[in-house]
Amino acid sequence: MVTGTLKRLDQAIRAYDAQAAREEALALVSAGEDPALGFDAIADVLSDIGAEFEAGTMWLPDMIGASESAQGALSVLQEQARLRGGGQMLGTAVLGTVKGDIHSIGIQIVSSLMVGAGFNVEYLGIDVPPERFVAAVKETGAGLLGLSALLTSTASEARSVLELLEAEGLRSGVKVMLGGGAITEDFALAVGADAYGASAAQAVGIAKSLLGTQEEVAS
């Protein structure tokens, strides 16, 4: 019974079927099984797809599709784990592209990969004003804020977000990471960010590190 459910969960994620994946997760917890079994199955399938991505036999849309298909199932499993008093999520992150910048691809990939890695992600989209970032941090209690800017003309908006966080007294409770084509490590650190990510793949490791779920930042 459990084996069959886990197999179908695996298949649903490989078929990019978010609804089916969520239903299999529900079936698992309804049967009273340990949500950790589901977490492991999802980690395995995403790891397989990640390996195929590295090998060039699967591509970015496959990674995105699998990660987002896993999201619904993860929510079910995480809620059940919380009720049981264990199996916490890696953390909550607010992500978005800064005001004046409409580039979305990189930050969406970061969002998908973080979801796949077990983060609860609030993705705000593009052209996000500082006030909205700050409001989202407040509403979700996020411990992590990820800002993206592709244009040199918009990179300075990241500074505005950090200043507003500071003004609202939230800065000490939230880690901030910056990335995107216009952002350099020097710039990120100069405006007061906690970390800089050069690629989407790095961002996941940085997020884990900032939230203390991983000891070293991948760089």
Binding site: Y16, L60, P61, D62, S104, G125, S199
Partner: protein
Amino acid sequence: MTGFIRRFRPTDLLSRSEEDLIHGAALELLERGGVHVRHSRGLEVLAEGGCRVDSDAQLVRIPSSVAEECMRRIPSSYSLTGRDPATAVRLGGSRYHFMQGMGMRYVDPDTWELRPGTLKEVDEAYLVADALPNVHVLDSTQSISDIVGVPPAMQHLECVASAYRMSGKPQHVGYLKHFDEFNVKMAQGLGVQPDVDIDIAPPLSLTEDAVDAMLIYAPLGWGLEACPGGYAGATAPATIAGLVVQWWAATIAFVTLAKLIDERAALSVEMAGGFLHPKWASPINASPESWYAEGMGNQLCRRYQLPIAAAQGFCGESKMFDFQAAWEKALGILSSIMTGSHMNVFQGSFATELGYSAVLAVMDDDIAGAIGRYLLGAEITEESLAIDLQLAMGSEPTSFLNTPHTREHWIRDRFLPSVADIGPYEDWVAAGKPELIDKARAKVEQIVAEHRPKALSADEEGIIEDVLREAREHCREQGLISDSEWSAYQEALEQAGRP
């Protein structure tokens, strides 16, 4: 069948009236001036076909009606086959192919020096060409034609034999007295069909060897590739138009003789020659004037659906594998293809044909792949227009990454280079800033270590060796290989591990 598909009509460079003027001028040259044919049987054939022949002067005036009738009977395509049936090529129509390049000597990518290649390096050149996905035809006319220890009389046949050993792909061969007989024996023994590159000496002359080759190869059904080779201001008029008139007249003369030799003759054309350095009069392969002249010639070929095996873009004048080498190749090849060529000699040629490099062939193969993808164009269907998808996604900022349509089409028909770096800058830095040439070098090493061509059967090996042995004996008997050359030859064969 291999090759790329061109989904769009080639570009015209000439108006219809300009095209008619050039065609008319070429016919006038042949009817009033004539073509020299230095071959008694060739002269007889042309006389029997209705041409006015002055045997003493070896001059043939070709009536326009005869020329036009022969041109109308050109097949629009022909086949080349190699040992591996899956690699067969149909030259012509909407298909496009790349042919391995040629060069006289081996290029040392560390010093840029040119030196004679060894038999082992010739083998490697063909092995790498066999492995490269966008090399469709091997050029065994001259890929490293200056071979250490191999007497000139045997160099071409050794190249052909090496290409058969190292590859199942079809071959493009040359012609030469004391070669043709053995070339045919080897091909027929292996059951393959190459095509043959035959020169027309500028201004308008067919040599005895050239006509011999036409008489041998036309009845076999092998494609005959006419190669007019005038250079503007030197062996042809200095103007683009005058040069093209000469090229076209030479092509018509060649086609006329081929068709009168054998009605079934399959034909193509490679308009070689072009423009010279204005100060030194050295050939400039990569000149916009030559590219444009060839484009005009291509348009004339399309008038008769004559398959075009072009040379434009196969090499330039750069002395290194650098930015200049890349633009000379890329612009040349693209201008040729856009005006209708069906095959271009390309991968590995270097510095005005002076050199050949397998490392360069690997880098060139990425250019070939990119151009092949460009030719494929865009499919216009309900599925590809994706109207329903776009309506469903709406106009608010959103992402198409996680849609079945994207997963279906993300990688389909996409060009991915083998060694060119199209990845993110930070990945390149993280990898230690590798240079393209080093990646190409590593690729060559990998191919040599891992790639194995379609295996020769014992019978096929025997055929190649028997024909080589017979050719060597023939050349010795004919005095084409001296005793000292023979010793060096034996040593070269031994070093290459030849039987």
